[in-house]
């Protein structure tokens, strides 16, 4: 289908010569949005429709925020209060700081949260960064060169999306067991760099944002292909690269199945596997500290990503996400 993948609104990000401040950009974006909307009065709605629809959205927002509110409130409680007091209000004693300090300890040998946090950040930065870099190269290669077999290769990569994670991860685990790669950093990072969705998004983005003529002009000027990529194409691809980076980091940060299989000592765990393990131990071991640790650890896990998304709103709002499904 030839539905346009990117709304033109994101083009000014790349072309506009004058740099605007963040506040100016937000203002402009809000005005543009208002401008593109048809005034509500024109729909000829019955009175009360707008308040009604707003309250429906409000209800769904409550549904969305309930677990978040719960985890914020209960990170301030001790074990007894988590279970015995009303879930959506605070209770004495205020245990947030105590709970937080537990995240730095290795309680009962079940692992240290802060270590998992470091591991996750490392895996996410290396894996997500690698995925974005490989996607930028390959997306550019697929979008701007038609070498022999390029189409077939591209469709093969897209078809790989159909292969279930279990069908890839179980054999990966078996190979690692043979090659002594269990518990190795690279066993986690290298597979995370392979993101077919990233390739697809970058290809679509290059098609829209890097004009062929510009590349040809650089060639006529005698620039080498690598130089053209870094000096001409890459600067134009930055918004796309950041979106892919964001999605890849989230994918690694949230990955559960691969690390669950390939790590068996808890000093290597990422947050997801560690917290999963705690939720099992908390039920079985009878250690009163594990439930508050689980709740507080969960909160600390989600805060960085929520902050990242709020800061980088225009990259997931810009419409590049749509590239993953349109076409």
């Amino acid at each position: 289908m030839s539905v346009s993948v990117l709304p033109p609104a994101s083009a000014p990000d790349t072309v506009e010569p004058v740099r605007e401040s963040r506040r100016e950009r937000r203002r402009r974006e809000r005005l543009e949005e208002q401008d593109s909307n048809i005034p509500v009065e024109l729909y000829g709605l019955r009175r009360g429709t707008v308040p009604f629809l707003t309250s429906l959205a409000f209800l769904f927002a409550i549904f969305t925020l309930v677990p978040i509110a719960w985890i914020i409130i209960n990170s301030t409680k001790n074990q007894a209060n988590i279970f015995e007091t009303f879930g959506f209000w605070f209770a004495r004693p205020f245990s947030l700081f105590h709970n937080f300090s537990l995240l730095f300890q290795n309680v009962d040998g079940y692992g240290t949260y802060i270590q998992w946090f470091g591991n996750t950040a490392l895996y996410a930065v290396l894996g997500g960064g690698g995925a974005a870099a490989l996607a930028a190269f390959a997306g550019y290669g697929f979008a701007r060169f038609s070498f022999r077999g390029s189409r077939v290769l591209f469709y093969m990569i897209i078809a790989a999306l159909l292969v279930p994670i279990t069908a890839l991860t179980v054999p990966l685990y078996l190979t690692y067991a043979k090659a002594h790669l269990i518990n190795s950093l690279w066993g986690m990072v290298l597979p995370s760099m392979i993101s077919p969705v990233g390739i697809y998004l970058m290809r679509v983005y290059v098609d829209i944002s890097v004009p062929r003529d510009l590349i040809d002009a650089a060639r006529i000027d005698g620039a080498g292909e690598l130089r053209i990529f870094f000096r001409v194409a890459l600067p134009l691809m930055v918004p796309g690269v950041i979106t892919v980076l964001l999605l890849s980091i989230v994918a690694v940060w949230n990955n559960y199945f691969l690390p669950l299989l390939i790590f068996n000592i808890n000093s290597r765990y990422p947050l997801t596997v560690g917290l999963g393990l705690w939720s099992l131990r908390a039920q079985n071991s009878g250690n009163a500290q594990l439930f508050p640790m689980l709740v507080t650890g969960g909160l600390v896990t989600i805060l960085p990503l929520i902050a990242l998304f709020l800061l980088l709103q225009r990259y997931w709002r810009g419409g590049i996400l749509l590239g993953s499904i349109a076409n």
Partner: protein
């Protein structure tokens, strides 16, 4: 002409070097594992006699295993409920925000998107606390409304609970994508409809919906692949309430239990291959459906 195309050919051949780094990783971490899965699935390791070639025996064992197919049927039922409900909610709010007929659309869009940033493990942990049969606040709420002894981890309510959790996790993401797709519907079409006094619900169902159908079909497709691999949520629920989730609850969970807990890796590999085939088949059917539809539509306009 021939000189020019020779130049282009030489230039284009160089393009493969941009793709090579990814291709190496792709082969090592996707093609090779898949090949290795097929290879190991053809062997059986026995206590006495070591690993021996056993041909298709792991496959026949899986195909005849009602445990495996029960799991497959369960995720298909799960997908058939979860995906339409989620997409309906996502499309509804995407339209409402796109038309601007609710206030604070921007804020709501940001709030709805937040769960996308929450790892499935943490999402499942939070919901497990909320739904926990003895202490969970949602259970207290259910009791207050007269549904006494509600147990969200019981066999009859487990699947609905998982559906709620996954809807919570993914609706916002789908909504943002549909919202972006709706933004590309030309404004003048809607304006013309308004001038004709078309009611709002007709604008949504007759104009907006058909124009974003490619996006919706693709979302169905992606969500379907994800749904058939359901793993994290049932596993965390099982941690919270041991015995609530059977070993064969979903195919992915069954494969994990077979490979890790039961240490029958060859059998697990065969299961993984069969699951892959099932997913490819279901996806192929939905793709055929998609292309069939779009051809008919093109016919309409021609």
């Amino acid at each position: 002409m021939s000189r020019r195309s020779a130049w282009i050919n030489r230039r284009d051949r160089r393009g493969i070097w941009f793709v090579v780094p990814f291709l190496v990783g792709f082969v090592l971490f996707m093609v090779v594992p898949l090949g290795y899965a097929i290879y190991t699935s053809l062997y059986t390791s026995k206590l006495i006699g070591g690993t021996v070639f056993s041909g298709a025996s792991n496959y026949t064992q899986t195909l005849q295993s009602s445990d495996f197919w029960n799991g497959v049927i369960r995720v298909v039922i799960y997908a058939a409920i979860q995906i339409p409900v989620m997409l309906a909610i996502a499309f509804f709010f995407a339209c409402v925000f796109d038309l601007g007929v609710a206030k604070f659309g921007r804020t709501f869009r940001t709030i709805f998107f937040i769960p996308f940033a929450v790892p499935a493990v943490v999402g499942a942990v939070m919901w497990s606390f909320l739904l926990e049969p003895q202490f969970g606040p949602v259970v207290h709420l259910a009791n207050a409304f007269g549904f006494s002894n509600t147990n969200f981890f019981s066999s009859s309510l487990l699947l609905p609970s998982i559906i709620v959790i996954v809807i919570w996790e993914w609706t916002g993401y789908n909504m943002v994508i549909l919202y972006t797709a709706l933004k590309s519907v030309p404004r003048d079409v809607v304006e013309a409809a308004i001038l004709d006094d078309t009611p709002l619900w007709k604008i949504i169902l007759r104009i907006k919906l058909p124009m974003v159908r490619p996006a919706i079909v693709m979302l169905v497709f992606l969500n379907l692949i994800g749904a058939l691999q359901l793993f994290t949520e049932p596993q965390i629920l099982e941690y919270f309430q041991q015995g609530a989730v059977s070993v064969n609850y979903t195919p992915a969970y069954f494969i994990y239990q077979t490979a890790i807990a039961a240490d029958e890796t060859n059998l697990a590999a065969a299961m993984a291959v069969i699951l892959a085939v099932v997913i490819v088949l279901i996806s192929a059917v939905s793709l055929v459906f998609r292309f069939g539809r779009s051809r008919r539509r093109r016919g309409e306009f021609a």
